[in-house]
Symmetry: C2
Subunit: 157 residues, 2 copies
């Protein structure tokens, strides 16, 4: 069996185990570097009361801890389902190189998860989104960014 298939099988196994233990949604993910698993994650939203505890987020946090860096360049992520917008964003911020996924956002939608609905919201102009959003006090925020730009001791990322 190919290495990729082995890793995806493990991600799907994590998803199944998580569901069977009633720990959270049926999602599993792992982060791989140089052929080794450096982070594993399952969805623990309901068991830990953390709406951000999706499998990919948990796996990325663990992988970053393993290599002691917020930069996961050179890593791959295997996800039992296509990442939701939150998790896709996290994959970009972590600088992960490659994503392998099994189920799709539409498969998740059939199981009553909102991934696909949230993706649709992202493509709407702000005033048409379900989430009401209001801008205020921009000039105060810009001052802080200007300070950041001038700050020579910052750690960029």
């Amino acid at each position: 069996m190919s290495e990729k298939k082995k890793f995806m099988e493990e991600a799907i196994k994590l998803a199944a185990e998580n569901m069977n233990k009633s720990n959270g949604g049926p999602f599993g993910a792992l982060v791989v570097k140089d052929g080794k698993i450096i982070g594993r994650g399952v969805n623990c939203v309901t068991s830990t009361n953390d709406p951000t505890a999706h499998a990919e987020i948990v796996a990325i946090r663990e992988a970053a801890k393993t290599i002691n860096s917020f930069n996961l360049e050179g890593c791959e992520i295997y996800a039992s389902c296509e990442p939701c917008p939150m998790c896709l964003g996290a994959i970009y911020w972590a600088r992960i190189d490659k994503l392998y996924y099994a189920g799709t956002q539409d498969d998740a939608a059939k199981a009553n998860f909102d991934d696909s609905a949230i993706y649709k919201e992202f493509c709407l102009p702000k005033e048409k989104r379900q989430l009401q959003s209001t801008q205020m006090m921009r000039e105060d925020a810009v001052k802080i960014f200007d300070e950041w730009i001038r700050n020579e001791s910052k750690i960029p990322y």
Copy 2:
């Protein structure tokens, strides 16, 4: 001063303090319920080596802990800058009702943060994105979703 202005001032103050302490990027956020702050967050990506530790994610996790629920319906979030895709996704999953923000994704881009670049990636078809993504083994993942749909002891969210 209006209540909203007071909360946004606090979010921006958190951002400034975080930068001055060299704890991470110049971002702050807070979650408010019934006029009370139930979660505060600052960006601690570089200080905790956690690429997901954006201000909004940290604030949402704290708020969910405070009220012991993954569902933050009825809450508002104040962010010193327009949330990135990861954080916007988290806001949707947390079921937060209203978003108030100060700086824009373009202000963040000028300070060398990738928010705006990541938003652009989201709107591209997968094959045109910088992140390589490959689907595999979908049928195995669908089996798990089918089990989830039939599972009567699940906690939906």
